[in-house]
């Protein structure tokens, strides 16, 4: 007689937002896996309708305290397309610098305090700090650097206020950015050390067949611009995103799930996808450390995303340092525009992966339509599919250990549930 088993994670820990996981087993067969996102829907797209387009960067920034820049950058690029605004190379460069700050803050935090504890069997960054105080302190310093850059350029560490459609409200003074350089020089070496450290972790032997999706730019590692490419060979303009990806509602989640159109398959976005698809665009130090580590090309082991984050952390420091050293205040700090009826879309690379925005505006500069697709929505189905494949590896353990191992896999994606609710508890049902 087959035996059913139910494993439930009531509330996922070390992720942003509220969600759970329900797994139903019949003997050794995984019958159902549901990433249950019960955080209330947030209706940001609805809030934006009727609002002046100038408010969009500040409103969308409020979707997340960890990755507000991703929302701001996606929003301003989409709106600028709708308004036919061409930004200057200087503005483009400073937007990359701002995004580097967010990557440094987010990756530094996730690597050291959220994901690393999983590799040592401890429950939190606090427990990890008892064994690795220097490493945890390093993570905290890296996070602080990211925040300081956001504060210097964005006007505020959380929910920056200096970003506007057309550029920046104010170009920072040279000395405001120059004073960050010594810390960032220390941070670059610390990021290299951190990446070498995580590369020594004991990774589960777990390989998946992924269709990995990320942006790709002819000259740069992807942040704000580029075409959308995948490991399956897709290469499209951002304008064609909705022809290739579509959101679907599932009953167990307040977050929509994105799938490829056509075969309705899941896909993977995030640091692993970006490194796999853009390794040749990494900065010199990042490329060198990537070659030193165990990160194969392409890497299809989701647990190794922590190495990819480290490599991107190095890249972000190196690029930020280049921009900081060369910085001169620029004019104009923003490009003027006139209201016109229009529609625009943009995709950028949030720390957790590709993010897509589309807006329509009217002749008075009011938003008439908004669509926001965050990375966690895009990874949700892939996480469920990964769990189906991962569960047979961990089912021999008791429910508590099985649940921990499932959470561990989920955390490798650094999901931002708050962002995706428009999204964790583990519940495994095993039939008797």
């Amino acid at each position: 007689m087959s035996k059913s088993r139910s494993i439930k994670v009531e509330a996922l820990t070390r992720v942003e937002g509220e969600g759970g996981l329900d797994v139903t087993m019949n003997g050794d067969v995984v019958e159902d896996v549901k990433l249950s996102i019960y955080e209330p829907p947030r209706f940001f797209e609805g809030f934006l309708r009727g609002r002046p387009l100038e408010e969009v960067p500040d409103i969308t920034a409020r979707i997340c305290g960890i990755c507000p820049v991703a929302y701001q950058m996606s929003a301003v690029h989409a709106l600028e397309q709708a308004l036919k605004v061409e930004i200057t190379p200087e503005i483009r460069r400073m937007r990359r610098l701002l995004y580097c700050g967010e990557w440094i803050e987010s990756h530094g935090l996730h690597m050291h305090l959220l994901h690393a504890p999983d590799f040592f069997g401890v429950n939190s960054g606090i427990e990890l700090a008892a064994e690795f105080p220097d490493e945890v302190n390093r993570g905290l310093r890296l996070k602080k650097h990211g925040n300081e850059l956001l504060e210097a350029l964005g006007g505020r560490a959380i929910h920056p206020i200096n970003v506007c459609v057309g550029g920046f409200y104010r170009a920072p003074k040279r000395e405001e950015l120059q004073k960050l350089i010594p810390d960032f020089e220390w941070g670059l070496q610390a990021a290299i050390d951190a990446t070498r450290w995580v590369a020594t972790f004991d990774f589960p032997d777990f390989q998946r067949e992924y269709d990995m999706v990320a942006m790709r730019h002819p000259d740069h590692y992807p942040l704000n611009e580029g075409r959308i490419v995948s490991t399956s060979g897709m290469e499209i303009d951002v304008a064609d995103y909705e022809q290739h990806f579509a959101e679907h509602h599932v009953a167990h989640s307040t977050a929509l799930q994105s799938l490829r159109t056509g075969d309705q398959s899941s896909y993977h976005v995030g640091p692993l996808a970006r490194v796999n698809l853009n390794r040749d665009r990494l900065s010199e130090s990042a490329k060198r450390v990537a070659d030193e580590t165990s990160l194969e090309t392409p890497c299809h082991n989701p647990f190794k995303a922590i190495i990819a984050r480290g490599i991107e952390l190095i890249h972000a420091y190196e690029e930020a340092l280049t921009i900081l050293r060369e910085y001169r205040p620029f004019r104009p700090s923003r490009i003027p525009y006139e209201y016109q009826v229009g529609e625009g879309c943009a995709a950028t690379e949030a720390p957790r992966g590709l993010i897509y925005h589309r807006y329509r505006i009217d002749e008075n500069g009011k938003v008439t339509f908004a669509k926001i697709i965050p990375p966690t929505s895009q990874n949700q189905r892939q996480i469920e599919n990964d769990l189906r494949a991962w569960l047979p590896h961990v089912l021999q353990d008791d429910d508590r250990k099985t649940a921990f191992d499932c959470e561990r896999l989920i955390r490798s994606y650094d999901p931002c549930i708050s962002c995706s609710t428009h999204f964790l508890k583990l519940n495994i049902k095993r039939a008797d």
Partner: protein
Amino acid sequence: MATTAHSLLVGVGSMLGDDQIGWMVAERIAGKLSTGPAVSGSAERGAAFLLKSPSGNISVRLATIPLDVLDWMDGVRRLHVVDACRSLHPAGKVHRLDWSILATNTANDSRDSALRIGGNTTHDFGILEVLKLAEQTGRLPDEVVIWAIDGKRFELGDRITDEVEQVVSSVVDRILAEIPVATNSNAAAAG
């Protein structure tokens, strides 16, 4: 921005009903301390920012993400944190929690209240976790006091309840009695 203040007061909060109490107390104290124009930033609640102080020996900050408090601890000797909490006590009950006692005493009433300090947190780092992390990594100031105020409504769209709002003044007075700073009147008198 490096914080070199001798004392740091942080109001932790959000816009969710009674979770605003930390911000309200911090703003009130900043207003009492400021000798210049109205305290900047009060219209931009929800973010962490530095408020003015007359003597330079105290910084007042508003935080939404408790983890950010770690970034402000360098050079700080005395830290007071104000946050909402949920315990079995009625709304408006004020708990003064001394970290040196809190960290070692797991059985008393204060500990029970403190375990539910704060509203929604980011990545599981509530203010208690942040303070534990600061302690583990050698960053914790010498003196840490948590002012936890019981609330009962923490949902989006909730207004702060009367019972909670009514204790703002008394919490402000109690904190200022513990932190030796010049207020508006005595700062002016001092020249």
